[in-house]
């Protein structure tokens, strides 16, 4: 189930992922092919255990496939070592998690600045870029606030700013509205849409919520480890 694209940003072929539990091999993803074009906003949906989070983790480079290839921007990340994968993630992937995953001891500004520590930028430039990212998500005035001083929606905006700040090829979002009320969730999804439309970002999002998925340009369904359909949004 893939959409033809002459130069997809993400090109997944014959992807297989098995887990071992109690000496037993449990297949999660079965011989999966998928392409995602640059600038696409793709929503992965499916019931629990369908493998959508596993697929997202593999695309994000935080898990390794059992077999198959995942080419992102021309690099087959399945072949990368742990250290190479870490470098690759730092340069190419922005993460948005369901529970924001901000460091509670750091201000919004510092949280956003965090990924830039890996870039070797001087501190002034890091601070400037973090401020810019916070401005993009509408939280410039909350830069000095700590996560516990921000609402859930604001924390997720900070997380989006953190995902954006290193200007990655790809943003992966795992249930980004799962912990938010509908209105705030809509705001966050609107923000993600803007990142695609205005900044040309590529986003792969996992969600349970069809209304959230409707914001994506393409909806991909997984069931029992295989893609069952792919619909244009």
């Amino acid at each position: 189930m893939s959409r033809a694209d002459p130069a997809p940003l993400i090109r997944i072929r014959r992807l297989v992922k098995n887990y071992r539990r109690g000496g037993q091999e449990i297949p999660v993803l079965l011989d999966l092919d998928m392409d995602v074009a640059a600038g696409e906003f793709v929503a992965l949906m499916g019931p629990s255990g369908s493998g959508k989070s596993t697929l997202l983790n593999l695309i994000a480079g935080i898990d390794k496939p059992s077999s198959g290839s995942i080419e992102i921007g021309g690099v087959d990340i399945a072949d990368l070592s742990e250290a190479e994968l870490a470098d690759w993630r730092a340069a190419n992937v922005g993460f948005v998690f369901q529970f924001y995953n901000l460091l509670p001891v750091l201000s919004a500004q510092d949280n956003v600045e965090l990924p830039l520590l890996l870039t070797g930028l001087p501190s002034r430039q890091r601070a400037e870029r973090a401020r810019l990212a916070l401005t993009l998500v509408g939280l410039a005035d909350r830069a000095a606030h700590y996560p516990n001083e921000l609402s859930g929606g604001q924390q997720q905006r900070v997380a989006i700013a953190r995902a954006l700040v290193s200007d990655p090829l790809l943003i992966v979002a795992d249930e980004p509205t799962g912990d938010l009320d509908r209105l705030t969730g809509e705001e966050i999804l609107g923000l993600l849409e803007r990142l695609v439309l205005d900044l040309g970002k590529t986003i792969v999002m996992v969600t349970h919520d069809p209304k959230a998925a409707a914001h994506a340009g393409r909806l991909v369904h997984l069931e029992k480890g295989v893609l069952v359909d792919a619909l244009g949004g």
Partner: protein, 385 residues
């Protein structure tokens, strides 16, 4: 700078836990320092001993006296520069609780051999001229509030009767290692009293102090002295002053070993406490470390965070512990009175305290840092959910 800020904030994230750990560390480092200082105090006499002095005593036991006549024969031994002698007086000032060492000495020759006892010329002269005079260390004078001209009554235990001495001089130690808690009186006064009561026991001395020119010849000179009196009724044992002092320390070696063991056990206990703290900390922050790893931070960064935090807490605890040791040691020295004539926290002890704190910090972080550097990112991120 960013990392340091993160370390500081992480270290004090759970203020109560950190404060309790710090209290434990301060107490442990303090106790370690204090116990080490007690051991040092035990060895203070050894440390302060001179390499140019030998001590000659009865080869049977210190309680056996040597004839005064040995003095001239020892003085004639090749390599001997000077000789003096002393007897343990063993008097009681008011009550037994006021213990301090008292020696009956041959004043002029003894003080010449001990330049570390610094006495004003006028006081020294007054002490030498008055057979009933006493000279005491500054620490002892301060403890009992004695001033020059005071009379000091001592109840004799070895030499019966009540003895009254005139305080004619107070000596200062040439350095901090010098014992300032001793009292010296005239041997001739005591000897005269002994002559009157037990004629046979007169003209005998407890130890000879032998001044030599060349410390390298100490063994040879000792042999020569002891050879002089071999097969006599009062054979001698001559050794360096250091060896003589060590023979006292060795009597309480078991206690010293126990103290040393306790000081190390304290460090091991606080190590376990701190390791537990760091393990709990790491477990609570599993999702944070997984997030950092997901963002591309290498395992070494997580290791640095945990080590940095542990070492930071250990360094703060170490600094407070070392700082608290000084007033505590001073208070302990006051409470112990003359039991430990020299009770000072040495630079080596402070360095060992720092080292102990840093070892505690390093060991405490080792296991959680190793574990956290190997976390599965996906499992770690799931931890939050």
């Amino acid at each position: 700078m960013f990392l340091l800020r993160l370390l500081l904030k992480n270290a004090f994230r759970h203020k109560l836990r950190t404060v309790l750990t710090l209290i434990g560390l301060v107490v442990a480092i303090c106790a370690f320092g204090l116990l080490r200082t007690i051991i040092d105090a035990w060895y203070a006499g050894v440390e302060a001993s001179s390499s140019t002095r030998l001590v000659t005593r009865s080869s049977i036991s210190l309680t056996f006296q040597l004839p005064l006549g040995y003095a001239q024969r020892i003085r004639a031994v090749d390599g001997v520069r000077a000789i003096s002698w002393a007897n343990w007086f063993g008097g009681v000032y008011i009550t037994e609780r006021n213990f301090f060492p008292q020696f009956a000495i041959d004043p002029a020759s003894y003080l010449a051999l001990y330049p570390e006892y610094v006495i004003a010329d006028a006081e020294k002269l007054a002490f030498l001229r008055d057979r009933q005079a006493a000279v005491v260390g500054r620490g002892l004078a301060n403890k009992f509030g004695w001033r020059i001209g005071d009379t000091i009554p001592l109840r004799g235990t070895i030499y019966p009767g009540t003895w009254t001495f005139n305080l004619r001089a107070i000596y200062d130690g040439v350095d901090a290692k010098t014992d300032e808690n001793q009292m010296f009186v005239h041997w001739s006064l005591i000897n005269e009293s002994v002559r009157q009561s037990t004629r046979r026991a007169a003209d005998s001395v407890g130890v000879y102090i032998v001044g030599i020119d060349e410390p390298n010849n100490a063994a040879l000179i000792s042999q020569r002295i002891d050879a002089l009196f071999a097969n006599s009724l009062a054979e001698t044992l001559t050794e360096t002053e250091k060896a003589f002092q060590l023979s006292f320390v060795s009597m309480s070696e078991a206690i010293l070993v126990a103290i040393q063991a306790v000081s190390l056990i304290i460090i091991v206990i606080i190590m376990a406490v701190m390791a537990n703290t760091m393990t709990m900390t790491a477990r609570e922050r599993l999702a944070e470390y997984a997030t950092l790893r997901a963002l591309g931070f290498p395992p070494g960064f997580v290791v640095r965070l945990l080590y940095g935090e542990s070492l930071l807490i250990a360094a703060i605890g170490g600094a407070l512990g070392v700082a608290a040791t000084l007033p505590l040691a001073a208070a302990f020295a006051r409470a112990a009175g003359t039991l430990f004539p020299v009770f000072q926290v040495s630079a080596l002890t402070m360095a060992l305290q720092w080292l102990a704190a840093l070892i505690v910090g390093s060991v405490a972080a080792a296991w959680p840092a190793w574990r956290m550097s190997r976390i599965d990112i996906v499992d770690g991120l799931r931890h939050v959910a």
